[in-house]
């Protein structure tokens, strides 16, 4: 299975990449790490006429962490670079942890952050992180128009994102992790490195009396995009953190999702998995909470 023929263009800069893609038209595609696009081409599900290689555009692979903990990651930054970034681990440890579950390290050595977000697989770790961390995605078109899209609005369906064919994802901005908040990440896959069947990312921030100030639950593999089940999240606020609450939240998550069924698991199995992974991820977040002051 060989990829179909195409013409190759190496972009030297963001402007160059955008000018080239708008000139070439709708059947041209950006090529980043190629870890999703090349397999799709090899099995002839994708047949671009031109590939505009953005992997070498230095402006697209910068990491910045501000003093207040806001993280900005260029779209062409390698997943492996983020996984190993001490600066990111210091302010947002859940991100490298989640990324370490993407495929195998030789895949992460090539795969980029932007490529995974734009590919938009509903079982993927990076879209899950973007959604859970309230990330914002910055994009640009050839005419210079820029947009900032909330992760909530970016993922619109399985392998579908809110991006035009000639629109380049520039970077993803992750707001500072709320002070004292704990996190949990739980994933179940059939084998280390396989795509998640279900993955859950949680965040908990507590009031001094042990009740939940803010709780987030994001789940991948349970629908057409990663999800933040609103009922389950709402249920956490103001309640006393602990096993009873986490079990109730897990049950609520299981009820609110519409997972699919395939050879790897039935709908019922996925719902049960979502419930137990939510419970565990909330317990992990609770364990990691630091009370302020």
């Amino acid at each position: 299975m060989k990829p179909p023929p195409f013409e190759y263009v190496r972009a030297e800069s963001i402007d160059d990449a955008l000018a080239t893609i708008s000139e070439l038209g709708d059947d041209a595609k950006f090529l980043a790490g190629g870890q999703s696009l090349v397999p799709l081409m090899a099995v002839r599900l994708s047949w671009p006429t031109h590939l505009v290689d953005i992997a070498g555009v230095a402006e697209l692979s910068r990491i910045a962490v501000t003093d207040s903990g806001v993280v900005t990651i260029g779209a062409a930054t390698l997943q492996r670079t983020v996984e190993r970034s001490a600066a990111i681990a210091a302010v947002c440890p859940v991100l490298p942890e989640a990324i370490s579950h993407i495929g195998h390290f030789p895949i992460r050595n090539r795969g980029t952050v932007g490529g995974s977000l734009v590919h938009g697989d509903p079982a993927s770790e990076l879209p899950l992180c973007a959604l859970a961390l309230d990330a914002q995605l910055r994009t640009r078109r050839a005419d210079g128009r820029e947009r900032v899209v909330d992760a909530r609005d970016f993922f619109v369906g399985p392998l579908m994102t809110d991006l035009e064919a000639d629109e380049l994802l520039l970077d993803v901005r992750i707001p500072a992790w709320p002070s004292g908040a704990g996190w949990g990440f739980q994933e179940f896959s059939r084998r280390s490195g396989d795509f998640a069947i279900i993955a859950v990312l949680t965040m908990l921030r507590l009031a001094p009396n042990g009740t939940v100030d803010e709780g987030r639950i994001a789940i991948a593999g349970a629908g057409p995009t990663p999800l933040r089940p609103p009922e389950a999240e709402a249920m956490l606020a103001g309640e006393r953190a602990g096993e009873t609450l986490f079990v109730r939240a897990g049950a609520q998550v299981a009820e609110s999702i519409e997972p699919h069924s395939d050879i790897h698991g039935s709908v019922r199995f996925r719902r049960q998995l979502a419930a137990s992974l939510t419970e565990r991820a909330l317990a992990d977040a609770h364990r990691r909470v630091q009370l302020d002051g």
Binding site: P5, E7, Y8, V38, P39, A42, V43, P106, I107
Partner: protein
């Protein structure tokens, strides 16, 4: 621009230049144009790991990299890991001592993956080896002895490093 492109890269220390189709993968470039057939192709879509090589020192699937993307860069393949005098790399020795291959098809990919894995983690636990090598498939299912081989190689490489210092 064009569907044929110039590539120039260094493979196992040797500079290679060619004009190839843009769609030619690094794996096919190594096998067809460089006649280095130790890099094997199993699935050709990133799943089996048989085609793993080092690109600027990082393990990658050569079936998911176009040769043109590797231009100006350095590639190391299984043919390039033994010493100049032909004596085996400690990884090759360890694999052989552990009988870590049957048909040998998956072996080059496992070794190239293990090279980066052990460089990053010279003293891995059994569980770390299992997770680190999980991206490579062996159709003969020789996993037990392959993981033993990586474990033994780690010890050999550590001894070697001590010997040098």
């Amino acid at each position: 621009m064009g569907d044929r492109v110039e590539v120039e890269l260094v493979v196992n220390g040797v500079r290679r230049r060619a004009t190839v189709e843009a769609r030619k993968t690094l794996a096919d470039f190594l096998r067809d144009d460089c006649r280095l057939t130790g890099t094997h192709l199993g699935c050709e879509h990133g799943v089996c790991g048989a085609c793993t090589v080092l690109l600027d020192g990082a393990a990658v699937r050569s079936c998911l990299v176009f040769a043109v993307q590797a231009s100006e860069r350095e590639v190391q393949t299984i043919e390039g890991i033994a010493a100049e005098d032909g004596s085996f790399h400690p990884l090759q020795e360890a694999m052989s001592e552990c009988n870590a291959f049957q048909c040998g098809f998956c072996t080059p990919g496992f070794l190239m993956t293990a090279l980066e894995f052990l460089r990053d983690n010279p003293d891995p636990s059994q569980a770390e080896i299992r997770a680190g090598m999980s991206g490579n498939l062996c159709r003969c299912t020789g996993y037990g002895s392959i993981l033993d081989g990586v474990h033994l190689a780690a010890a050999k490489l550590r001894d070697g490093a001590r010997g040098q210092s």
